[in-house]
Structures are given as C-alpha cells and as structure tokens.
C-alpha cells in the first residue's frame, strides 16, 4: 500500500472529504409493515437494514426472563453479497457474535427496559453493503428502528468511528482507511447527555492523542444526531398529517 495516500497535503482524504467530514447519510423509517419498527440507513456506501420486534413475551427458554426489566436480544448479520469476497456465513462467526454483543450492550444502556418487565425486545440488523463503519451504521439504523417501534429510550444512540492518520484525527472512516491498519475507534454516544454507551478501540495509539481522536468521534456522533433527528421529525410530520386530529381515539 505504498502508493496510497490517505491524507493529501491539501488535507483531503481518499474519497475527497475533509478530515472531520462525514459521508452522506440517507435514512428511512418504517420500511416494513410486518415488524413493529424498521429502518434503512446508508452512510456513504455502507448500507444497513434494522428491524425491531417487541416488546413481546419471551420466546424460547423461560430461563431468560428478567422480572424487573426487558431482555434485549440482538442479532447482527452481514448479507453474503455485502463484501468484496462472497461470505460463507451471514451470521454466527466470531466477528458477528462480537458485534451482536456490542449492539446488545449499547441498546441495554439506551432503552428504558425497566418499563417492560418479563418481556423481550428483538433487534435484528443486517449489513447489505459493507464499506467501513459497519457497527456505527448498524447502531444508527437500529436507533431509528427502535424509535419507529415506539419503544421508550433515554436518548438517541448515535455512533461514529474515527481514526488517526498522519497526526490528524479523521472522522467516519471508510473501508480503505479502516484497512490501512491505523488506530480505529468506534464510539456510541447519547448525544444530549453526552454519555458514552460504547467505546471500542483497535490497535495502538499514544495516550497524548486519545483525547483528540475521541473529540473527533464525538463531534461526528453529534453530526449524525442532527441528521437522524431530522429524519425522525420528517417521518413524524408525515404520519401525523395523515392521521390527522384523532386525539386518544
């Protein structure tokens, strides 16, 4: 990878973005009628689909039942056609299991689970096209799906990644930047209260730089929040216009 310059002298990245710039975000809520909540999300070329079922009675073994709050059940999967090389197993491999666990921790922190004792909430996310920041896109898509399902949350959960290349923190890494081998940090943030739902970093980074990289990630999360909020607001406006003045009918 000698020839690839991740950050040009003029301060532009491989795909023409500035260091702190996000990729284009497009999202839609309520894409499936069958599920309680669903959302589709694109961040650049990373595309994810999230579906939420519940809260409903615990399926499977009764032993999972929690008597004071709801169980959050997640599943992360990648479509076989999502990566450059065709995947054998869409879910159940090591990375997917880890990602599933991360998603579960993130949403247990954000959903007000104590309102639904002895229930279960299912969150299924699938990556349709992988181009870096899979975890972040999944979290953002799942947030929209949970909101669509009308499940109470403390706040939005916004996730974004950041890296550190040539002494500059970069926000929202793409696949090329991710696979260059530099430090990679993903952050899930509750933007209003600035609480961290999940923070993960791969590879080594000097302590002195950590704060700057964290700042870049949290700035990116807040930018993502602005976009998600607009999506939710548009969706609300559209549906409430259709429904009209019903009151509590």
């Amino acid at each position: 990878m000698a020839g690839l310059e991740l950050l040009s002298d003029q301060g532009y990245r491989v795909d023409g973005r500035k260091a702190g710039e996000l990729r284009k975000i497009q999202a839609r809520m309520g894409v499936f009628a069958q599920a309680d909540g669903s959302a589709y999300m694109e961040q650049g070329n990373t595309k994810a689909l999230a579906v939420v079922y519940g809260p409903h009675e615990i399926r499977g073994s009764r032993a999972k039942t929690l008597h004071d709050r709801a169980v959050v059940n997640c599943q992360y999967s990648m479509a076989t056609f999502s990566t450059g090389e065709r995947k054998r197993r869409p879910h159940g491999d090591r990375t997917s299991t880890e990602m599933t666990l991360h998603l579960k921790q993130t949403f247990e922190a954000a959903i007000l689970t104590q309102l639904y004792p002895r229930s279960q909430i299912d969150i299924y996310v699938q990556i349709l096209q992988a181009d870096g920041g899979n975890y972040c896109t999944c979290v953002n898509a799942a947030t929209l799906a949970v909101i669509d399902a009308g499940i109470p949350m403390r706040d939005y959960v916004c996730a974004s990644s950041s890296g550190f290349i040539e002494d500059t923190p970069l926000a929202d890494l793409s696949y090329v930047e991710e696979s260059a081998g530099g430090p990679y940090l993903s952050l899930a943030l509750l933007p209003k209260s600035e609480q961290i739902a999940l923070l993960e970093m791969n590879s080594r980074l000097h302590e002195d730089h950590l704060e700057r990289v964290m700042d870049a990630a949290s700035k990116a999360c807040k930018d993502v929040y602005a976009v998600l909020e607009q999506v939710v607001r548009d969706h609300l406006q559209e549906v409430s216009a259709l429904v009209g003045d019903r009151g509590a009918a």
């Binding site: 809260p55 409903h56 009308g150 109470p152 403390r154 609300l236 559209e238 409430s240 009918a249």
Partner: protein, 293 residues
Amino acid sequence: MAVDVRLPAARRRVNEALGAERSWHLVSPGDTITTDTGFMRGHGTYMEEDKLLASVAGVVERVNKLICVRALKTRYNGEVGDIVVGRITEVQQRRWKVDTLSRLDSVLLLSSVNLPGGELRRRSAEDELAMRGYLQEGDLISAEVQAVYSDGALSLHTRSLKYGKLGQGVLVQVSPSLIKRRKTHFHNLPCGASIILGNNGYIWLYPTPEQMEEEAGGFITNLEPIPLSDREVISRLRNCILALSSQKMLLYDTSILYCYEASLPYQIKDLLKMEIIEDIVLETRHRLVEQEG
C-alpha cells in the same frame, strides 16, 4: 397466460400543506418538554435533573397537569372492557395463554370461560384435563379484557355467547391505533359478511351465521364449505381493510362499508394496486366527511 407487470412507483410525500394547518408539538427521545416542575410525568416521558424529557417520538398531549407523549405506533395497551381477538399459544394449568399483540401474552382462566352446559356449571378436575379439547394451540378466540395486571399482562374472559372460539374466516392484522373505539365491535355488515374489530388490531371476517348456535358454549365450529359468493365478499372486505389501513384511516363499520361500496367497480385482486387504493380511500374519505356534515 396474461401476466401483470408493474414498476415500482416513487413514494409520494404527503402534501406538507396538510400538516401545516395544525401546529403539533412533536418531540423525539431525549427532547426536553418542560423544565417546569409543576407537571406530572405521564407515559412516554421521564424525569432527569428536574427536567421532563420525552422517551418516545410522537405528539405531546397535556391534560391539566399531566403530560404524556403519544407515540405514533406502539404495541396494544389493553384496557378493561376492550374486545380482543387472539390466538391460543399455550395450554397451562387451569389457564390458556393467548397472543393478543400485546407486550405480554394474555391469560384466559378456565374459570372465566363458559363451558358447555350452561352458566352455572361447576368446574371439575375433568374439565381441567379436557382443556385442550375446548381450545388448543393455534385456535383463534374473541374475548373481552377482564383485568389488567400490574406488569401490563391482560386477563380475558369469554363469559357471554358473543365470545368464544372462531371458526372459518379471515384474520387481518392492522395497527391497534387504527381501530375506533365504539359501543359495539361486532357487526353484521349488509354486504353479507360479519366482522369483529378487535381493539388489539386483529380483525376477524367471517360469513354471517344463519342462526345463533345453541348451548355449546361456542366451542363447536361449523366446518361446512362456504359458498363462493361469501368468500368473494370476505376477500373484498379484507382488501378494503388493508387499503384503509395503508392510508391510516380509522376502521369502524361505516368506514369499512363505504370503502366496500367504493370498491365495487373494481376486481378484488385490483384492490391491492396502489393507485386504486388511493382512489377508493379518497372516495370513502369524501363520503365520511359528507355524512358528518
């Protein structure tokens, strides 16, 4: 064989002018509703550092001192007296578990059903053993909500001849918020079919029975073939209900009947096409407005 090929149509945005005439107080999770401490916390809100925050995306509703946020779409929240249609998921000791699209499965106690042989029958150990004979897993029932437990689970009863096991018909699932609360949820429509509008969003369409069944407690179902004309009426009604729910119209006897009448010029299968749905729902909407005056 002729094949109907259709291209996906662009999603049409709802006319913004429609919503602009009313100013909704819309919030999304984490938004501050008020910092005034004189208010009470209702559904869809939570308190943090003396601020009242929204926890769901929806419309703020104020009743005196109480502030609630009503989400646009939620699971069914049962209330005592609601009519529900549900499916038996489990047979347990002296009770059935019923799936009613609620956040927990509802229970139907053996002591709150009418067993064959009249109202005043003692429930013996044999009845307990024969429970699966009355209702087994997968059976559909109509029932009324008798009580709501503290965790939100519902207790149902079928102690009236109106309620009980459902026989042949079609089940349609819609959002619970689209069912209008009325005095009665059982209707014999003049088009030749009957309908049960469950408050939980399950709608049951069935051919109008010729005579009321006698003392069987409603556990015996008629399995005779239904004539084609009845089945056509039921299919048409089903498609009409789906059309109304796709346009977020409230469902009750009049709206369904008007939609049915508006759909008569079209073939049943065509009622699933978007442009025809828009057509018939618009006509229904006009007639409803006209009728209201």
